[in-house]
Symmetry: D2
Subunit: 405 residues, 4 copies
């Protein structure tokens, strides 16, 4: 058995040093979904004020990912742009301030990163301002506010993630690039491309040209579909003779039935996704496939719990030469079941069993796939505009009319 490595606490190498050296970098998992279930994030706005309100909860989740094998701790600054903290009745900017939320996120991530061999990445994501047709200068100003905090707190590198429009992603990369730090950029798109119809290959090319050293996808689609998309990005870069590291941070939900916009369109989003949660074995298959495709920055997004990240680290342990700390409590492919009291459970202590299992849903009255919503609106649509005030009853009634169930 491979050794469990107590992660080194000093002399860390930078993200590009690692990737350029051919090392596998394991990302972390999804914060908003995990902390929503733990009681610290509100679905709907999905904003990260917990960094200020409940730092202990954020710290604990970072720690779990670190133990599971993450080499990068992303600051919990998802949707922490000023305009998003102030959208549709969510008065976080007003009550706490955008700056404090971002600063606290940096502090917590750094504190935990110092406990092991992990880098801190400052992250920005898409903005309501873009959807509301604000111009390039205005949108860039939004990103710059977060970047100022990241620079003050001296994060190790930067990630522009969760962009549905490559145009906005390019603007984000351009801003982040001003810092001089390495920039990664991931879009939340599938094989059909961005919301304006730009194919993945072209998205990748534009992002690299804007300055990203690492490109790929995150969120919105399951591991399998996300890898298809990264493959298209890789091919686009090859055709354009551009070089970049590849990255994937998919959902931990099965989404074979999504349209262009991914899991947000599924009727189960966000409170009925449980039957779609992927197993650790699904993740081991994903990690292997990502590796074989040449991806070296491998992590997850919404739905990824610490044990999913551990599954990446365990699958790629032969390549990396060691197991993560959390494997103290987990045997490879279920072999710890040999310690179970019941003999028929001990009989499951082997790879063949788990690799071939087709897990049942226990829901015979439910279907196996859903028809996604597809309202066909994007940037510029009235219903997507930023609106400081809460959605009104009248607005809601109009929406209910459009819907079937």
């Amino acid at each position: 058995m491979l050794p469990i490595r107590k992660t080194a606490k000093q002399g860390k190498r930078g993200i590009l040093e690692r990737l350029d050296g051919g090392e596998i970098v394991i990302g972390d998992g999804g914060f908003v979904f995990a902390l929503e279930k733990r009681g610290y994030v509100k679905a709907g706005p999905w904003t990260p004020e917990a960094t200020v309100e409940h730092p202990e909860a954020v710290r604990q989740l970072h720690r779990e990912f670190l133990r599971a094998g993450s080499n990068v701790l992303q600051t919990f600054t998802f949707y922490a742009s000023e305009d998003k903290l102030e959208n549709r009745g969510n008065y976080v900017a007003e009550k706490i301030s955008c700056q404090k939320v971002n600063e606290a996120a940096c502090d917590i991530a750094r504190e935990v990163a110092n406990e092991g061999d992990a880098l801190v990445a400052g992250g920005v994501s898409q903005t309501p301002s873009y959807l509301s047709c604000k111009d390039k200068t205005e949108v860039k100003a939004i990103f710059r506010k977060q970047l100022d905090v990241f620079m003050k707190k001296n994060v190790d590198f930067l990630i522009a993630e969760y962009f549905e429009h490559v145009e906005e992603a390019v603007w984000a990369v351009e801003v982040l690039k001003e810092s001089g730090k390495p920039v990664a950029a991931t879009m939340c798109i599938g094989p059909e491309g961005d919301m304006h119809g730009v194919p993945p290959g072209q998205c990748a090319v534009q992002l690299v040209k804007a300055g990203a050293s690492i490109v790929g996808v995150n969120c919105h689609f399951d591991p399998e579909i996300s890898l298809e998309t990264v493959k298209l990005m890789k091919e686009g870069l090859q055709a354009a003779k551009l070089k970049a590291h590849l990255m994937s941070q998919p959902l931990a939900f099965h989404t074979p039935d999504c349209g262009k916009q991914g899991f947000i369109d599924l009727p189960e989003f966000p409170f009925g996704l449980e039957p779609r949660i992927v197993t650790r074995w699904d993740i081991q298959k994903y990690a292997r496939k990502a590796y074989d495709l040449g991806i070296r920055y491998i992590g997850g997004c919404c739905g990824f719990e610490p044990y999913h990240i551990r599954a990446i680290a365990e699958e790629l342990a032969p390549e990396r030469g060691f197991l993560p700390e959390a494997s103290e409590k987990h045997g490879s492919w279920g072999d710890n079941l040999s310690m179970h009291t019941k003999p028929w459970v001990r009989a499951r202590a082997r790879k063949e069993y788990w690799e071939n299992l087709k897990p049942a849903s226990g829901r015979p009255y439910c279907p196996s796939m859903s028809k996604p919503d597809g309202w066909g609106v994007t940037k510029g649509a009235r219903e997507l505009m930023q609106q400081k005030e809460a959605t009104t009853e009248q607005q809601l009634r109009e929406l209910f009319q459009k819907q079937k169930i």
Copy 2:
């Protein structure tokens, strides 16, 4: 909207005061499954040495349940009997000591309970000694060791939980009863009764006669089946003209396809259960049904995450008059989705939508039900005997032969 109640920190009333007064008591959720996913518990032995090794992780989970509405924090002493800490190559008793694990569990639970309106319950569960045919005196001695710690740490009341044989449960209740503290007793059985064929109604009668003030079921079956079982217990008590409070702490996994022994027999146990995880809406239906059945101690077991406990507290908020702290981050029946950016998600901000949703599994290549294993062995069977040493390769090979996949 009902007020969110910052839980009172002093002048707590005892468990029987509450129940006798007609109050709803909300239990907590499942520790071994939640902490396995977070990286602190090993599936197989399922023992709670994390209380010593990683108290911050145990503390955080207690806190999440408290915020979600739990009125009882069970000490994380599941399977913390001396014999179980020493089974099949799991040398916890040797490396840490049974006493330390139990003491740490009490300290952490008390620390968090003091942050709100929660009681601390010391818990014991079934033992390998019983399965290995040790006699009554020996088995009782095992329970007494844990009870000694609970008395020293002065827990508020005691729970004998997770018993497959009523005979052993009765022994546990008799030991706990020596303390003078209130005793609750739950069995991990379904409508077919205990492993020796004693029907639920008779189990309940025996437990009450042995001194339990609260009886019911925990683990092994889903909410629906568990309520059926409690109903049979209630009827048994009525027929015997006995009085007791009723309690239910089921799985948060759908198990319509289990046999007598519950989810342990399902081929998905324990690493492929994801598609069976219940939604918050399933739990709201469970909480209402449990309440209507007259159950007043309502909680969960394996699979119950903090948001599932919050769902109980939200469903029963009208009866209780207040919402739990974690509802600061959750609207009733999805109404916080009115703050979502996408209009079609805002259209889901209503009860009718979530109540009627039949969530898809996203797994069209998987079935919806499984055939459970049913090896038909119990107490006394050679393969169930305690064995200090790890399972040997030879023993495993014999088991693999018996299995199909």
Copy 3:
């Protein structure tokens, strides 16, 4: 390989001679469902006027069952009682006459029976008169009209089938018994018993006491559930020390999700049952299990097509010593696929393949089970009364109100 037996055309032995001699008797399949799909029977009334209107279609179906191995051809007189031919706007009695429909049915069955080794059985089934609370004398008079035809046409034996209430079935047996011919009686019930709550075991006892030599079940439930019911009948007879031959003619639809009243309650009845149709392999398993349970009259009801009957004959060919005529066009367990052009289909030419196949529905947007209707009305309910006139618009609207979809 066993010989294909061109069926003997003379010197036929009677039904009791065969069964008393330990012979397996293969019944036929379902006429109303098969002929509905062929365009000759109307779903709703389900009456057999095709015997007069399209004798060639009825004859062809009889012939197919004969070739498939049926030893009994039931006259196509299902629901051919005078009161049913005159119900809810179905004016068959008026337009053709009850007598002509029954006579034509006898003539066609006899013509085809003469082509092989098959007996003709005259059949009666439950009546609207019983549901409408007509008394014993009136209901018996209804059966007697059909019996008169059967005697005139000299059928070989008689079957009282498709009864939901044992009281009415007993009346039918008493009438048929007046003829001196052997009488078989089957009820369309499941393990929960008849609509008045009489358990299967007691139903069997009453039928045998009334004069039936053969008892069992037909229709309403799938093979598996039907065999459970026959098992309960067998146990009832044993407990009462009565002797009778056992018979089963189940549906060819999977119905794991029925309530007490069987497939009529399923939302798919009668026009959406396709995904529930059983395969020939399901039938081979059924035939074997029925045989092992001691049933010697084995056939089918609604949904059974000729190839399902052939599957019974093929499964029990070793016991019977020969294959049916239609096996000229079918190899055992798919071995004729060795003649297929595509190599991967030739690779399916073996028992292991078909025995273990879990056939997919191709319907990922549909569930695998349904919630049955359960209106809880039976004999005496206003809505079940015979009504000569068509259902009115107003009556329909009232019913639509009660229903969800």
Copy 4:
């Protein structure tokens, strides 16, 4: 309600007169699958010797389609080419002769066509000779033998159907065109195109250039996928500025999970397809969609039973102005259920009910989709070669090795 039209028996107009005049032409359904279930065709070879052996069974099926609304009766000459009647141990050519099988097919079709308003179409299909790399002259000679019979029997027009390679289909069309009669040509392909990778649009263009007046698809894919393919054909023809009538005769099985080669690759082919059978309501949706796409020759292939054809005729009755004969026994969208005895079934007598029903499979232990085989062999592969002798045990064993189950 529209009138039921007793079909005219004389003065029939030709196929092109009808289509040119904008009339809807309804095809017939699948013979080999229907007659296999009735006991007259052997799965594996799938050859039509029943025309000689059991003409009454073939005649009856033709008659059912005629009553259901078919305007075309195809001669039952599928796979009746000399080389196919002599393949892999199927000695039909030797025992009966190719000519007799084809002649009998023409006679039966004509006899039934004379009973109503239907045309007789002589049909040829792909040959083992092509797969075995015989040259154009040899393959054309095979088709010409069948054409000679069709000319002698004076069929009304000709169909080249069930071709996986457009090259062979073009050869067939060229031969049939020599007759001077109108020619229709359908390929058994999906949106991915023929086995050599020719896209549907190009296939259509080649077929029209070769002389086909009607082009489209038949078999191998479900209605939805088949319409996608025809749409591609239509677009191909438009791009090439060619005109032709469109035709579709899909499977009556749901096949969302097929690869390039269609349902033959599904593990359920051919003996486990039951759960995939489409309902009459699926067919009504198909007929409407086909019509809206501009298809005017609408029929079915394998799995289509008479009631499926009736569903086409009922859906398009408003456009055609009349209902088929078999609608005497069927009300529109289930309205005949108003005659049912049970009130909850009467409540299903309406379109909304059946249109929205998601029918359950009753098979909770089965998946909803399957992984198709994909051996990737076609024309020229050793294993596809014609072979007069039966497949040997050794050949079978080699194939079993390649397969999983």
